[in-house]
C-alpha cells in the first residue's frame, strides 16, 4: 500500500508543475462546492486544498473571507468538511485532498479526533496557516499516526534558520507564500520570488508549491517555471462567485490552468 504522504508528493511527478487549486468547502453552497472540486479534478488538477471555513481568517484577503462567511452562513462545520471529503472519495475523486484551515476549529474538534476522522474520510493531510512548526508537535504526532501530511508554510521573510526548520519537519510538500501579504489576486508577481524559491530549494528536498496572489495563466506559467506546484485560490473563488454556472466555470478555468502548465517546462 502506498503511504498517503507519498500520494501527496506523487502529485508533483507529472512532468509539469502541479496545479493545486484551493476552494472553500460550503461555498457557494455545500453541494456545489463538492461539484467544483470534482470539476477541477476532472479537469486535471493534481491536488486540491479544501478550505475549512473560519470566522476570523487573518491571513486571507476579502475574496476568501467572503467565501468563508458564506460557507459558515450555510451551516458549514468541521464535521461537514470531513463528510465532504468522504463524499468526494465516494464520487470517485482520486487526487490528493489536503484540508486547509485555521487552527482553532481544528483544536475545538480535537487534534487526535480530526486526524483520525480525516484519515478515515480519505483526506491526505492538513495545511494550517496559523500553526508554525514550533506549536505543531501534537498535531504532527497525530498526523504521523494517521498517515497524513502536515504541510508547513514558508514566507519571503523566513530566515535561513526557519527554512531549515521547515525543511527538517516537512511532509508532503512545502507551501511557499509568494508575498508578504494576505491571499488575493495581484496584478504582478513579486519580483523577489525566484530568489525566495531558490533560497528554499537550497534546504528543502520536498516539492515546493507557491501560492498567494496567482490569478492569471501567465502568472501560473511564470511560477511553474520556478516551483513544483502552483496554488490558485482567490481567483477560483472569484470565478465561482461571478459565474451563472459556477461548477462549469470553475471546471473550464481549471482546464485552462492545466493546459497552460503543460506548456511550462518544469524548473
Amino acid at each position: 500500500m502506498t503511504d498517503p504522504v507519498d500520494l501527496v508528493s506523487g502529485a508533483f511527478t507529472k512532468g509539469r508543475p502541479a496545479f493545486m487549486p484551493y476552494f472553500t468547502l460550503g461555498y457557494p453552497d455545500y453541494e456545489r462546492s463538492l461539484q467544483i472540486v470534482q470539476a477541477c479534478a476532472a479537469a486535471g488538477a493534481d491536488l486540491m486544498e479544501l478550505g475549512i471555513p473560519f470566522s476570523d481568517p487573518l491571513a486571507d484577503g476579502p475574496t476568501i473571507q467572503h467565501s468563508t462567511q458564506v460557507a459558515l452562513a450555510n451551516g458549514m462545520t468541521v464535521a461537514r468538511c470531513l463528510t465532504a471529503v468522504a463524499e468526494l472519495r465516494a464520487r470517485g475523486v482520486a487526487i490528493p485532498l489536503m484540508l486547509m484551515g485555521y487552527y482553532n476549529p481544528i483544536l475545538a474538534h480535537g487534534e487526535a479526533r480530526i486526524a483520525r476522522e480525516a484519515a478515515a474520510a480519505g483526506a491526505n493531510g492538513f495545511i494550517i496557516p496559523d500553526l508554525p512548526p514550533e506549536e505543531a508537535s501534537t498535531l504532527e504526532e497525530h498526523c504521523q499516526r494517521g498517515g497524513l501530511a502536515l504541510a508547513y508554510l514558508l514566507a519571503p521573510t523566513s530566515t535561513e534558520a526557519r527554512i531549515k526548520l521547515v525543511a527538517q519537519k516537512a511532509s508532503g510538500f512545502v507551501y511557499l507564500v509568494s508575498l508578504t501579504g494576505v491571499t488575493g489576486a495581484r496584478s504582478e508577481l513579486p519580483s523577489a520570488l525566484s530568489d525566495f524559491v531558490a533560497r528554499a530549494r537550497r534546504h528543502v528536498s520536498h516539492p515546493l508549491a507557491v501560492g498567494f496572489g496567482i490569478s492569471t495563466l501567465e502568472q501560473a506559467q511564470q511560477v511553474g517555471g520556478l516551483a513544483d506546484g502552483v496554488i490558485v485560490g482567490s481567483k477560483l473563488i472569484s470565478v465561482a462567485g461571478e459565474a451563472n454556472d459556477p461548477v462549469k466555470a470553475c471546471g473550464a478555468f481549471a482546464r485552462q490552468m492545466v493546459a497552460a502548465l503543460k506548456d511550462t517546462d518544469p524548473h
Binding site: S55, L58, L107, H109, D130, P156, T180
Partner: protein
C-alpha cells in the same frame, strides 16, 4: 548563566505564537529589540522621563471617601489612570512600544482600537515621536465612540474603517494583523493589550506594570499597609495585569478581575470568557492560546457589552494562567451594574469613569459593603468616561 536572549513564550500552557509564517521573523525581531531596550538604561531613561513629563506619572491614588461612606465598609482607593495623558492607562504601553518601534527603525505604526482609548493613545505617542499612524476600528465602535475617532484624526492618525465580521475590536485586530503581514518590513504593530502572540503579552504587561509599582508606594504611604483587595476590569486585560503584576508575590492580597457580563450571563449576550462554560474555553485567537469565547465548532463567538473596550472574545494568556493557579479570581458585572457604578462615581466622587473601569467600580461597591472598615480595596480606574457620555445618556434615557 548567559544573558537572556529569549523570554518565556508561555504562561503555563497559555500564550505562544500561532501566527502565519510571514510574521514569525517579525515577532523574533520584536522580542530581541524589546529585550535589548528593556535592559538598556538610555531607553528606560527616555521612557521614564516621558512618563513623568508628558504622561503626568505617577498618577494619584485617591481615597474615595464619599463612595466608601456610601458603601459602608472597606476603604476604597482609586488608582487614577483616568488622569494619565490621553485619558487612560493605554498611553503607558503605547509610548513604550512607539519608542521601541523608532528604535527598530520602523516609521509606520498600525494599531487596533475598540473603545478608541488605545487608538487615541497610539495616535498621541505617534504624534509625539513623529511616526505615521494607522488605526483600525470597527464601524460599530466608530458609531459609539465618535469623539475618540475625531481625536485620533486631530492627532494625525488615519482611521481605517473595518466593516468585516462583527465590526468591533476582534475584527479591527484581524485587519491590523493583515496590514502588518503586508507591510512588516517598515511597520510595527502596536498591539494595545496584553494578548496576541508572544512577546506582546509579556511586553505590554511590563509597560503597564508601572501602575502596580506606583500603587505599592502610594498605598504604603497612605495606609502603612498593603490592601486586602485589588480590582480591575478585564477586556484583553492590560490594565488588570498592569496593577496585579507587582502584587502577585504578595499572596495575601486578593486580585480580582471583572469581565463584562453584558445583558447577563444567561442571556448569552456578554463578553465574560471565564463565566460561561458553554462558550468560554481554551482556544486560539490572534496568535495566542488562552480562554476564547467560541461555539462548539471553534468559530469565534460574538461578544456584547455596553463598554466597547471590554468586547473581546479572548483574554490575555497570563490571566488564564493566574486563574488556573487560583492566584487571581475573575468575576463579572452587567451593563446595568456598570452604568449604576458610573453614575455613583460621578455623584459621590466627581469622577466620570470610563464604562470599562465602571465594571471594576461595580465589583468594589459589592465587596466593600461585606468588608470591615479597617480593610482596603484598590480599584484600578483605568480610564476616564468623556468618550462614553453618548452611550450612557442613551442608556439612561431607555432605562
Amino acid at each position: 548563566m548567559n544573558a537572556t536572549t529569549t523570554l518565556p513564550g508561555k504562561f503555563g500552557a497559555y500564550g505562544g505564537q500561532f501566527v502565519p509564517e510571514v510574521l514569525m521573523p517579525a515577532l523574533a525581531e520584536l522580542e530581541r529589540a524589546y529585550i535589548s531596550a528593556r535592559d538598556e538604561s538610555a531607553f528606560q531613561g527616555e521612557l521614564q522621563q516621558l512618563l513623568i513629563t508628558y504622561v503626568g506619572r505617577p498618577t494619584p491614588l485617591s481615597l474615595a471617601a464619599r463612595l466608601t461612606a456610601h458603601c459602608g465598609g472597606a476603604r476604597i482607593y482609586l488608582k487614577r489612570e483616568d488622569l494619565a495623558h490621553s485619558g487612560a492607562h493605554k498611553i503607558n504601553n503605547a509610548l513604550g512600544q512607539a519608542l521601541l518601534a523608532r528604535r527598530m527603525g520602523k516609521g509606520r505604526i498600525v494599531a487596533e482600537t475598540g473603545a478608541g482609548q488605545h487608538g487615541v493613545a497610539t495616535a498621541t505617542a505617534c504624534a509625539l515621536l513623529g511616526l505615521r499612524c494607522v488605526v483600525y476600528m470597527g464601524t460599530v465602535d466608530m458609531a459609539r465612540q465618535a469623539p475618540n475617532v475625531a481625536r485620533m484624526q486631530l492627532l494625525g492618525a488615519e482611521v481605517q474603517v473595518v466593516e468585516s465580521g462583527s465590526q468591533t475590536l476582534k475584527d479591527a485586530i484581524n485587519e491590523a494583523i493583515r496590514d502588518w503581514v503586508a507591510n512588516v518590513k517598515d511597520t510595527h504593530y502596536l498591539l494595545g493589550s496584553a494578548l496576541g502572540p508572544h512577546p506582546y503579552p509579556t511586553m505590554v504587561r511590563d509597560f503597564q506594570a508601572t501602575i502596580g509599582r506606583e500603587t505599592r508606594g502610594q498605598i504604603m504611604a497612605a495606609e502603612g499597609a498593603l490592601p486586602e483587595t485589588i480590582i480591575a476590569c478585564v477586556g484583553g486585560g492590560s490594565n488588570a495585569i498592569g496593577i496585579f503584576h507587582e502584587f502577585i508575590a504578595d499572596e495575601s492580597i486578593e486580585l480580582i478581575g471583572v469581565e463584562a457580563a453584558g445583558a447577563g450571563i444567561t442571556s448569552g449576550k456578554h463578553a465574560a470568557r471565564f463565566a460561561d462554560e458553554d462558550v468560554g474555553r481554551p482556544g486560539v485567537l490572534h496568535g495566542c492560546y488562552t480562554y476564547v469565547m467560541q461555539d462548539a465548532d471553534g468559530q469565534i463567538a460574538l461578544t456584547h457589552s455596553v463598554s466597547a473596550g471590554l468586547v473581546y472574545a479572548a483574554v490575555g494568556p497570563e490571566h488564564t494562567r493566574l486563574r488556573e493557579l487560583q492566584r487571581a479570581f475573575y468575576t463579572h458585572a452587567t451593563d446595568n451594574e456598570a452604568l449604576h457604578a458610573f453614575q455613583l462615581l460621578c455623584e459621590q466622587e466627581g469622577i466620570i469613569p470610563a464604562l470599562e473601569s465602571a465594571h471594576a467600580v461595580a465589583e468594589a461597591t459589592k465587596r466593600a459593603a461585606r468588608m470591615s472598615p479597617e480593610s482596603v480595596i484598590i480599584v484600578n480606574l483605568s480610564g476616564r468616561g468623556d468618550k462614553d457620555l453618548d452611550t450612557v445618556l442613551g442608556a439612561l434615557r431607555e432605562a
